[in-house]
Symmetry: C2
Subunit: 180 residues, 2 copies
């Protein structure tokens, strides 16, 4: 089963798309470049009956991503390596902030504005989200067969970013600055 | 919010129990000992509206756990450190086997018999499951405030293991040997 799709570097690598068992070697998955990050989807809603998706994000030290909220999507951050600072605005309007190191965990329930900033090179984060959102990154960015970080970074057009936001109900909050 | 519950080593540590944002330092979470493993729940169905749970499992080199299947629960293995060999019997009855190293990933969709064997000391695995199953380990094992592996191992009585299996619809397949 795995040999049909799990070929590292194969062009157009796709996950199985149905609830079947499979394995991936480190780095394998559906890869996309978005800004300065490499996002790799390991599991999608199509394998979990819509329940959850799993992805990794690799990035260098950089700027905070745009503050955003997704009304229907719960999301976790689990730091595999490096450092990432996460900001979340809770339901009472209070701003929570934490610098996450390897093994540290952050939870962002649906609907809350949040952002993060990678604060060390070679940072790697594992994410889990409500099924479906894992493919936002490829929709906003660009699919790649590369295992490397984007060089130069991939900056989507405002139209592309907005379209992906609409498709995945990801609301950018350019009016709200949580970091700094 | 986090200070109310996120106290490392605090007796009776509990997750928030509702969809609120929170952070955990490495090692924090609802910890339990089961056989030779330390299982730490980072996120439960109560924070995700039943969608998914997240846990880590730390274990020394050892024997395969009992082969089992959970009819309603999808589950992933993501290896954080060490080595674990996973066996899965697919829907056609074919046995899949893979030695997972750090960064490697395995997916077990609902209903398929599977087992794993930790093959290196200091192995750590991150698991994600359909919401609810993350508390099977505490039900079968015993809650602990320790951050260490169980010493001696905690071997539940057959009655306790069977009761946890019934509660979490985890079917042990002592009739089926997938490993070796």
């Amino acid at each position: 089963m795995t040999a049909q799709f799990a070929q590292p570097g194969a062009r157009g690598f796709s996950l199985p798309g149905e609830p079947v068992p499979f394995f991936l070697e480190a780095g394998e998955g559906e890869r996309a470049h978005l800004f300065d990050s490499l996002v790799t989807v390991l599991l999608s809603k199509d394998e979990t009956q819509g329940q959850f998706g799993v992805f990794t994000l690799a990035a260098p030290k950089g700027e905070a991503i745009p503050t955003h909220a997704h009304a229907d999507v719960h999301e976790i951050f689990f730091v595999l390596g490096g450092r990432a600072r996460v900001w979340i605005q809770d339901a009472a309007g209070e701003r929570l902030e934490r610098l996450l190191k390897p093994g540290d965990f952050g939870y962002v329930p649906a609907g809350l504005p949040h952002t993060f900033r990678v604060e060390a090179d070679d940072t790697r984060i594992l994410g889990v989200c409500t099924g479906g959102f894992e493919r936002f990154f490829a929709a906003a960015g660009t699919r790649t067969d590369s295992f490397a970080l984007p060089d130069p970074p991939y900056a989507p057009s405002p139209e592309r970013l907005a379209a992906a936001g609409r498709e995945f109900r990801n609301e950018f909050r350019f009016d709200l600055r949580l970091d700094g």
